[in-house]
């Protein structure tokens, strides 16, 4: 796989039984890349390992005063230099390719899983885990998978160098091999402690960043009412804690580094001691002593790769476990609805929408308004009206569209027939044009929808706010979640988007709660006109909207208690009047009493 061919046409089906399985699966997906990386790594390390040989040969040649052998050593050095250079560069290329392809594959898997989870992601744990995997875990997982081949190369080469040394000069070779073993055994147990400290430090740093981001996010509140010093002090404390924790981590690393200097140093002293005596005894040539000295210095290099792999593995295990867990998530209603297949074709979206649990009946082709005494209950009702709800109705009664249970239709079919716009619809970032580009019936033009939702001032504000785009507001980028827009503007854009979709049944939960009365009354009129002949349900308590509905239902304690046109209910039903005119009972008695 080349980087330029990414993304994968199909990222495959991962083995998500456990983190370990997942890592193995990822590794298996790039066996070719791993083999290449192993081969180049071996070339690189072997060349570097053999350099001391050339140095030793050169020194020996000089000692023996042989210009010819010096030239030979030079040629060997050129060859090894070329090998090291090509090996190092290609190792890096293959290793990075392995990392990038593994990371891209996991990102793709994650994107697919996330898209299919949909509303299930409103459960916070799931959402947090997905984000954590995509922001931090993938890098570690990719690193672990990638470093496997480099580790193997390092192991291979250091074993062969040790073997070479032993074969070449058993006494010194044995000394070096034993020394290396001790070094590895001393350092490896120190690594987990260092990584634990690093984890703690990261956690504290995350906390400090969170505090800073939170302070900045609420800065307008702070500047408006005070308390800056309080929050600064708090952040200073967190920031100093991060510093302290980082220094503690550094202490551990400093110790490890000192050990990494001291132990090989001792080994070098031993080599000089033993080597010099062997040389004076005539058992070792001078050049060979230099070679052994050089080889010991070299061996520290693969040793670092061992350490790196040990760290990569210990770091990435929890990450891989979390990634596997996220990739194994399923849509909340999948189990429930998979039990009743086969009714897909029977759905008749042009019929009445009926919820037996509450008695809410939205007549086909009409604008029905529902007034709920309790706002949370309204949200649950809206969710249920769309079918495949996260919280199924208590006694298992299913919402029917044209007499067919929505839950029996596949999720996509149900969502096509009924669009529920919840209380807090999210505007995805992009241009206004992209925002309005949603799967739709194609019968409502974007301009018409924007006009019906009274988005004129939003368009004007967008055109004004960005000079570069030649005043075409449709091409202006809206920031993430539309944060640059006011609550009312966001609500109207969301409504326009739902109108563009133009579903057979549209359920709107408080679509104009943040819109001022002037605009709201215009939206209500336009909504009735643009949805003519289509089924629409609006959950609201605004008289301006209710006044435009064909039929109004009052739902109290989960059941429909009154129905009729707005003006009639206003005059005949005291409960209704109390809810929509927002007078509390006391105020009501007060007012009637004084009148």
């Amino acid at each position: 796989m080349h980087i330029r061919h990414l993304p994968y046409p199909d990222p495959g089906t991962p083995d998500v039984r456990s983190g370990h399985h997942f890592l193995l699966w990822l590794g298996r997906q790039q066996l070719g890349g791993q083999a290449k990386s192993l081969a180049w790594g071996t070339l690189h390390l072997l060349s570097v390992a053999a350099l001391p040989l050339a140095v030793g040969l050169a020194v020996q040649a000089v000692v023996d005063r042989s210009g010819e052998r010096l030239a030979l050593a030079g040629a060997l050095m050129a060859l090894l230099g070329a090998g090291a250079t090509v090996g190092d560069t290609m190792l890096h290329r293959t290793a990075i390719t392995n990392w990038v392809t593994a990371a891209a594959r996991v990102q793709q898997l994650l994107a697919r899983r996330t898209a299919s989870l949909g509303a299930t992601l409103t459960q916070r744990v799931a959402a947090g885990e997905v984000v954590a995997v995509s922001t931090g875990d993938i890098e570690k997982v990719g690193w672990c998978v990638e470093s496997a081949s480099r580790f193997s190369a390092a192991l291979l080469v250091s074993l062969s160098v040790c073997a070479g040394l032993i074969a070449y000069e058993p006494e010194l070779g044995g000394l070096v091999a034993a020394g290396l073993l001790v070094l590895t055994l001393v350092i490896l147990p120190m690594l987990p402690r260092a990584t634990r400290r690093a984890d703690l430090q990261r956690e504290k740093a995350g906390r400090a960043t969170e505090l800073a981001a939170d302070t900045v996010a609420g800065l307008r509140v702070l500047r408006g009412i005070g308390g800056e010093q309080l929050f600064l002090e708090r952040y200073r404390k967190a920031s100093q804690e991060v510093r302290g924790s980082a220094v503690r981590t550094a202490r551990m690393w400093a110790l490890i580094e000192a050990v990494q200097v001291a132990l090989p140093g001792l080994l070098l002293i031993a080599v000089i001691w033993q080597g010099t005596r062997m040389t004076t005894d005539g058992r070792l040539a001078v050049g060979e002593l230099v070679t052994v000295y050089g080889a010991v210095t070299f061996l520290l290099f693969p040793l670092r790769m061992f350490q790196e792999f040990a760290m990569a593995y210990s770091f990435s295990r929890p990450s891989a476990t979390r990634a596997a867990r996220v990739l194994a998530l399923h849509h909340a209603t999948e189990a429930r609805t998979a039990a009743a297949p086969g009714t897909a074709a029977a759905l008749r979206p042009e019929g009445d929408l009926y919820d037996p649990a509450s008695g809410v009946l939205a007549a086909a082709g009409q604008l029905t308004a529902v007034v709920c005494g309790d706002a949370d209950a309204a949200g649950v009702l809206a969710d249920r009206l769309g079918g495949h709800a996260l919280a199924p109705s208590p006694d298992g009664e299913e919402v029917l569209l044209g007499g067919v249970a929505l839950d029996d239709a596949p999720l996509d079919v149900a969502r096509t027939a009924v669009l529920v716009q919840d209380k807090d619809p999210v505007l995805l970032s992009g241009t206004l044009e992209e925002l309005m580009d949603v799967p739709s019936s194609g019968e409502v033009a974007v301009r018409d929808a924007l006009e019906a939702a009274q988005c004129g001032d939003v368009l004007a504000a967008l055109a004004q706010g960005s000079p570069g785009t030649d005043a075409d507001p449709l091409r202006v980028r809206i920031t993430e979640r539309g944060r640059s827009l006011s609550g009312g503007q966001r609500q109207r854009l969301a409504l326009a988007r739902s109108l563009v979709t133009d579903p057979a049944v549209l359920v709107l939960d408080e679509p104009t709660s943040a819109v001022d009365s002037h605009t709201e009354s215009r939206i209500a009129t336009a909504l009735h006109r643009i949805r003519a002949g289509r089924t629409t349900v609006v959950l609201t308590s605004s008289p301006l909207v209710l006044d435009c509905a064909d039929q109004v239902l009052l739902v109290q304690d989960g059941r429909v208690t009154a129905s009729g046109p707005h003006r009639k209910l206003l005059h005949t039903d005291a409960d209704y009047r109390a809810v929509v005119t927002r007078q509390t009972d006391e105020e009501l008695t007060e007012r009637t009493g004084s009148a």
Partner: protein
């Protein structure tokens, strides 16, 4: 064609909307100088311990050289014990000082990093409210998260490591020159290769790494948005499009990975080649020199080992120099905040009384595009004024002017005869508070969330404030009481409760004049109704300017001002306006039936 061209799409270009200034090179330099001055002692210490460690590390090769020299000369009684003892002492010194170098380096880096992030927040919380209101907090937010993050590595590693690397390389070169001056010449052979490669690389690398990082962040960003919008994605059947977007981001990011990989495909061989060139030319030239009798075998051995040691500091310098260049951009963004004029209020200005007046006020956000066209409004103390009117008419803008956040372009807004916009923000807020839809609940305890309004309040006062806004029932129910952690990650707070916290802060801050900008509009109507009742109690006796989108709020006000197209078109009490039969009256009829 050999090589990879930089991808056409640059994710770093559209990374964040820059609404605040980015530091000029002069500001950045001045700040870096300041930082260095503050930490001069730590720097000197780091360089010193590093020099000792490096010098000690050169003893080994030197000793090996003498041993080789003696062996080659066939000396019989080599002072082996003395050599080994010297080596051991040097090793001890090196071990101790290497540990110190590493530790001191980290301490220095961490201190500078802490300074940097704390300085930035100090500057940020001092920004004039008008700047914040205009620029929004998005840009600041990305600076304190993304840019600080990017700088972390640079400060924590790059600065100390570069200091270490430079000292190290210089000492090695010096030692090489002292050991065998002719050998130092050999190093020069590799220099042109190294310089040419580095120049090519550094001209391209910093920008490329920035784009690569931005591209990677965009991949995570697209996914985070899909997660955040889960319900919307499902309702609108946007799943396939979100997957498509994620894959497009992946393609954009990996294109940059491919490009930076190509850059390294040049710099890696350059580095390796110069290393081999140095070692090779030291050995070959040195060998010839020995054969010619200009230097000894021992000098050659030591020199060869020194030149081999050069590889590490050189790659250290190259590696971290990279990081420093990337960090420079982030640093410029962080210190850019210093270029904003701090709130330059006139400390001597103090209101005399509570009467609020706007006189022929004209104001616009952009040159030549006024939002308000000559608004005059007189608000006597204790009056409740409601501003109503269609979206975009200028209600919120007028509210912000009345709260002293912006100063008018023409005309003036005064409180007790003193011009609001010329007072420092800290003074304005003792008198006037603006409450908008933004009910931020800070990460932290409920106590901290309230204390910000009056830092010296005790628990009974905090409880009383919660009681005044009707929040005592749920607040008392919290397991840890006032110590309960709220905000993101803590106990979830409903929008209504967040609103109550905001109001409780107002009770504590106790300003005599309030500007309410659709403060309850994001709440569901039923919760809003209860809140407005508690609000009414809090507001008793105060001057209130309420931007209302619900007519019953207007109905209860003493004066209603209908704002249309940047002017006040109708002004009077509810009954007067209904009798006048204008726009307000029409709306009221449709609202109330």
């Amino acid at each position: 064609m050999i090589g990879v061209a930089p991808p056409a799409y640059d994710p770093a270009a559209s990374e964040s909307v820059t609404t605040l200034p980015v530091g000029t090179p002069a500001t950045v330099r001045a700040y870096v100088r300041l930082l260095f001055r503050r930490h001069r002692r730590a720097f000197v210490l780091l360089v010193t311990v590093n020099a000792i460690a490096v010098t000690a590390s050169m003893v080994g090769p030197y000793l090996l050289g003498t041993v080789v020299e003696d062996l080659a000369a066939g000396v019989e009684d080599i002072p082996l014990e003395r050599t080994v003892a010297l080596f051991a002492v040097a090793l001890l010194v090196q071990t101790v000082f290497i540990r110190m170098v590493r530790l001191r380096g980290a301490m220095l880096g961490e201190e500078m990093l802490a300074d940097l992030r704390e300085d930035f927040l100090v500057r940020s919380v001092g920004l004039p409210p008008g700047v914040l209101e205009r620029a929004g907090t998005g840009d600041l937010l990305s600076r304190i998260t993304t840019d600080i993050d990017r700088l972390a590595n640079a400060m924590r590693e790059a600065v100390p490591q570069l200091a270490i690397g430079v000292v190290w390389a210089a000492l090695l070169l010096g030692a090489l020159t002292v050991t065998a001056p002719p050998l130092a010449l050999a190093v020069l052979i590799a220099l042109p290769v190294l310089i040419t490669g580095c120049r090519w690389y550094y001209r391209r690398a910093p920008a490329a790494y920035r784009s690569e990082a931005a591209g990677y962040a965009a991949v995570a960003g697209a996914l985070a948005e899909t997660v955040d919008a889960g319900r919307t994605v499902e309702a609108h059947r946007l799943g396939a499009r979100r997957i498509g977007l994620s894959e497009q981001r992946i393609a954009e990011w990996t294109a940059w990975e491919r490009y930076t990989l190509w850059l390294r495909t040049i710099i890696f061989p350059t580095l390796n080649l110069s290393n081999v060139l140095v070692l090779g030319s030291v050995l070959m030239l040195g060998g010839v020199f020995v054969l010619e009798g200009w230097i000894s075998v021992g000098q050659l051995t030591t020199g060869a080992l020194f030149s081999q040691m050069l590889f590490e500091p050189v790659s250290l310098i190259l590696r971290w120099y990279d990081e420093l260049q990337v960090a420079q951009v982030s640093l410029a963004r962080l210190v850019g905040v210093r270029e904003i004029e701090p709130d330059s209020g006139d400390g001597a200005l103090s209101p005399d009384g509570r009467r609020m007046q706007a006189d022929e006020v004209r104001f616009g956000y952009h040159e030549g595009a006024d939002v308000l066209h000559g608004v005059t409004l007189d608000v006597p103390p204790g009056t409740r004024v409601a501003l109503v009117g269609p979206s975009g008419a200028g209600k919120s803008t007028l509210g912000r002017l009345l709260a002293g956040i912006y100063g008018p372009r023409e005309g003036e807004v005064t409180l007790g005869g003193a011009e609001l916009s010329r007072m420092p923000a800290e003074r304005v807020r003792r008198h006037v508070a603006l409450v908008n839809q933004e009910h931020h609940v800070f990460v932290g305890s409920l106590r901290e969330n309230l204390l910000l309004a009056r830092t010296d309040a005790d628990d009974s006062e905090l409880r009383a404030a919660l009681g005044a806004v009707g929040a005592d029932d749920w607040a008392d129910g919290l397991t840890d009481g006032l110590d309960t952690e709220v905000g993101s990650g803590g106990v979830a707070v409903t929008p209504a409760q967040a609103q109550q916290i905001a109001l409780a802060r107002l009770v504590l801050a106790d300003p005599h004049t309030l500007v309410l900008d659709e403060a309850t509009s994001l709440l569901d109507p039923r919760a809003a109704r209860h809140l407005e009742r508690s609000l009414a109690q809090v507001l008793e006796g105060r001057t209130v300017v309420a931007i209302a989108h619900r007519l019953h709020t207007a109905h209860d006000a003493d004066v209603i001002a209908v704002v249309e197209q940047g002017t006040i078109s109708e002004l009077g009490s509810h009954d007067t306006l209904v009798a006048a039969d204008g726009a307000y009256a029409a709306l009221w009829r449709s609202w109330h039936g």
